[in-house]
Amino acid sequence: MLASILASGLAMGAIYALIGITYNTMFATSRVMSFTAGQLGMLGGVLGSLFMLRWGLPPVLALPLTLAAAALFGVVTEFVAVRPVLKSLEQHLYVLSTLAVALLVQQVVAIEWSTEPQPFPRLLGIGSGVWDEKYWLPVAACAATVLGLEYLYRRTLVGRAFVAVAEDNYAARALGLPERNLRIASYALAGAVGALAGFAGGQLLLAFVANGPLLNFYGFIPVALGGLGNNRGAVIGGLALGLFQQAANFLAGGIFASVAVFSLFIVVLLAAPQGLFGAPAARRV
């Protein structure tokens, strides 16, 4: 019983962490918290199921196709909902613009796909019980993403430019970095990361339109716990959330589990407003 709570808790935690990284990646270059993060996770599951079960493609083809489609959606989001509101960030119009895009994609999927959960195929056919691939695939995907991003940010020129833009937008622009192109690239990257979460977790979450708002919410918690922009914090926060949620589901039951999760979330945030691993606020005067 403990083993299965651990397995599903870590798996869900890894999915939440990946959505948290999706939030972070978009935020880094644009200072925008985009409501599309969870929808990207939903799209990963739905597109994966579409390509594999309805079109009959093998996973090796379906995965890159899913990631590419989601990356494209990320880029569209940047063009339609992010770039136009960057001038007036303090007005919080991004809340509306990204929300509108999220609602649009959700409604299109609901009508063109289904409002009921649809199957997602087994990918590798490896493992059973608590070692079933549906539990470890999200964890593996999360680990691969974190390592890949670390490599990107530390070892490659593009990655360093990303970091520079994330740390100081104005300075980076003054240095002549192609800030706009980097932002587009980060939205594409975020699209791929979000879709990977949905794809790797497809067997757990199924190809289900309602996963969008769900992941939006639970994917934000790791960001808040781990500190905005801190991917390692997001991973730790995500895994902690997954374990706590699954344990609460079992111990407190379905009604009180979400109450427990949200109460803990609020209490932790109040105790550590910058998140557990976040930097303190900058000086104001």
């Binding site: 299965s4 599903s8 309602a210 589990a257």
Partner: protein, 395 residues
């Protein structure tokens, strides 16, 4: 046509009221307006989509035959998207703006609870298939009639099957964490306890929980001999059935009709995971031991052939939609009037009205029209053309 009328909005509303004065003169020729409150999009839209097929089929059939005493039968659909606030607006719109003569729906309990009093205030003849017991109360809502079983009737059938056929003395009761799931699971558990059946576990599970193993293990360790489930979430049901197979546990499942939903088939890891699962069904929509439907149901299926797809829906949804239209049409035909008192009065006098889904009987004090004995249990994995085989133990 509807778009322009609504689009003009407020400006036209005043004019419409003025025209209203002239209505009685043309009343005998105007169409019969049938309001249809459907939750066609949003979560759990599958039943409404099924009902809708039946409604459209029946309305077209009536109009093709020249209407009801020469009056066209017009269906006015409003999608409430599963939201009580939208359902309330849509109901008032059907009553006051579209001036329908009767309303069919809503199709889920949350919406129905919100609109029942509003329809009662307008004395609007209303038939609906929602199961919550308190929705039917001829004293408070003399206008509301149910053409499906109440939750109590479902509950009785499930409980009887679990105790009498499956001989379970210890059961685990599960619901999801929606309003319906919480209420239904509690009511079911209470009823088992009243009959001295031990409820070893009563849980409300978050329908999005990815893994049901811990809850199922707990039920097995507590010695459950049957699992009783109340949810419309196909994802949750499929996960539970898959978990049962992985545990190598052959405990029977009994409960909500959604256990037989076609979507579950796709979500199961193996087809045999669907065995030993019994859900609420209806005699009219069940195959007997020779694989035959009742004659009258077969007649409907034949008529639907090629016009309505039954494979991804349920026969009872479609049949019930057909019956809803016919109940209104026959009331107008019998009384020659679309006045609400006439329609309600006619329904109050119905004895064994031969619908396709069931034979409905109403009296001024009994608005639960569906015959309880027609609620049966089906084998969930036997779906064919939207109908199911009777569960073992039903003759």
């Amino acid at each position: 046509m509807q778009i322009t009328r609504r689009g003009l909005g407020l400006g036209v509303a005043g004019g419409a009221a003025a025209l209203g004065l002239a209505r009685p003169a043309i009343a005998q020729n105007e169409p019969i307006r049938f309001g249809w409150l459907a939750s066609m999009t949003g979560p759990s839209s599958a039943p409404a989509i099924g009902f809708d097929r039946g409604v459209r089929f029946a309305a077209e059939a009536i109009n093709a035959a020249g209407g009801v005493k020469g009056r066209r039968f017009e269906v006015i659909t409003r999608d409430s998207q599963g939201e009580p606030t939208k359902a309330v607006n849509a109901t008032q719109e059907l009553i006051s703006q579209s001036r329908v003569h009767a309303i069919w729906g809503p199709t889920n309990s949350g919406e129905s609870l919100a609109v029942t009093a509003i329809m009662a205030r307008a004395k609007m003849p209303n038939i609906h298939p929602c199961v919550v017991d308190s929705l039917i109360d001829p004293n408070r809502y003399p206008n509301a009639f149910r053409v499906a079983p109440s939750n109590g009737q479902w509950d009785d059938a499930v409980r009887r099957y679990a105790t009498d056929v499956l001989k379970a003395r210890k059961v685990a009761v599960f619901g999801d964490n929606t309003g319906y799931g919480v209420t239904a699971a509690k009511a079911s558990s209470d009823a088992f306890k009243r009959e001295n059946v031990e409820v070893v576990q009563l849980s409300n599970i978050d329908a999005t929980q990815p893994d049901m193993t811990p809850d199922m293990l707990r039920a097995r360790n507590a010695g459950a001999q049957a699992i009783v489930v109340w949810t419309v979430s196909t994802g949750m049901l499929a996960r539970m059935l898959n978990t049962r197979a992985q545990m190598g546990w052959d405990v029977p499942f009994v409960g909500h009709p959604a256990l037989s939903a076609g979507d579950i088939g796709g979500l199961l890891e193996k087809p045999e995971n669907w065995r030993n699962v019994f859900c609420v069904g209806y005699r009219s929509c069940s195959y007997d031991s020779t694989g035959k439907l009742p004659a009258r149901s077969q007649e409907l299926v034949d008529r639907l052939q090629g016009k309505v797809n039954l494979n991804d829906s349920l026969l009872w949804w479609v049949a019930c939609g057909v019956d809803a239209v016919n109940l209104v049409a026959k009331a107008v035909e019998a009384t020659g009037s679309t006045a609400s008192e006439a329609i309600i009065g006619h329904w109050n006098s119905l004895r064994k009205f031969p619908g396709y889904y069931g034979e409905y009987s109403f009296t001024p004090t009994q608005h639960n029209g569906y015959p309880g004995e027609d609620v049966v249990m089906s084998a969930a994995n036997t779906g064919r053309n939207g109908a199911f085989a009777l569960a073992p133990g039903y003759g």
